[in-house]
Symmetry: C2
Subunit: 132 residues, 2 copies
């Protein structure tokens, strides 16, 4: 890694800081993190809360988060098996920026949706004027 620490390196798609953005954009990862923000959750609970994700995909997501040191996986030796996932300190520290983002989202999404409608309408109109 020979990239310097200037803010400019965010422009490099290979900059390691991109991994964070990738996780945020991941379909399930950010959801899982938010859920775990309230405390440890079991695999099957997670599946339900996060709205019927397939076990394979959920496992992939959880493994990735565990690998990044954002969550821990604890197996309780008992039958039936019981596995709990929990945020690490690192994971919890991500909660803050995540919340900020969510707040921005909640307050601005209506505007975005309006912008989309307006854009799409303008598109349609343009099509009507110059039919191909």
């Amino acid at each position: 890694m020979d990239t310097n620490d200037l803010p400019g390196n965010v422009l490099d798609p290979n900059c390691p800081s991109r991994v964070v953005f990738q996780r945020i954009g991941d379909k399930w990862a950010s959801l899982v993190i938010q859920v775990l923000g309230d405390g440890p959750v079991r695999f099957s609970e997670l599946r339900k809360m996060v709205n019927v994700v397939t076990p394979k995909v959920l496992t992939q997501t959880l493994r990735a988060l565990e690998r990044d040191g954002l969550i821990t996986r604890t197996v309780y030796a008992q039958v039936p098996p019981r596995v709990e996932y929990e945020l690490t300190a690192l994971g919890e520290s991500l909660l803050q920026p995540l919340t900020m983002l969510r707040q921005w989202a909640e307050s601005h999404v209506p505007t975005i949706l309006e912008a989309r409608d307006a854009y799409d309408d303008a598109q349609d109109e343009a099509l009507l004027r110059s039919p191909n």
Copy 2:
């Protein structure tokens, strides 16, 4: 939109607030936004700064951002053509949470990288102990 405004709706993958997370995670969108944070930029400049993205992909990205009302596209009628992209007020307001995220990333990515190494090493070791 019949979803309530409880924080819990973030768990719904169809929740509109997800569009924000998608943009953040988009390979180029967040980069473009950060670049435009310093002022209007032309298409070709954008291409260079963002590290040789193909014109098709850059166009897609820009159109999406424009549709969401995050940037504007201004065509100057002259030869050769000149098109500038610029953040809207909405787009600028996104700069703040984006910066927070970037700061988190810059200060925690080393930890994440270490966690990955540790995880991968543990995996390798486990493989050695129980060869398939």
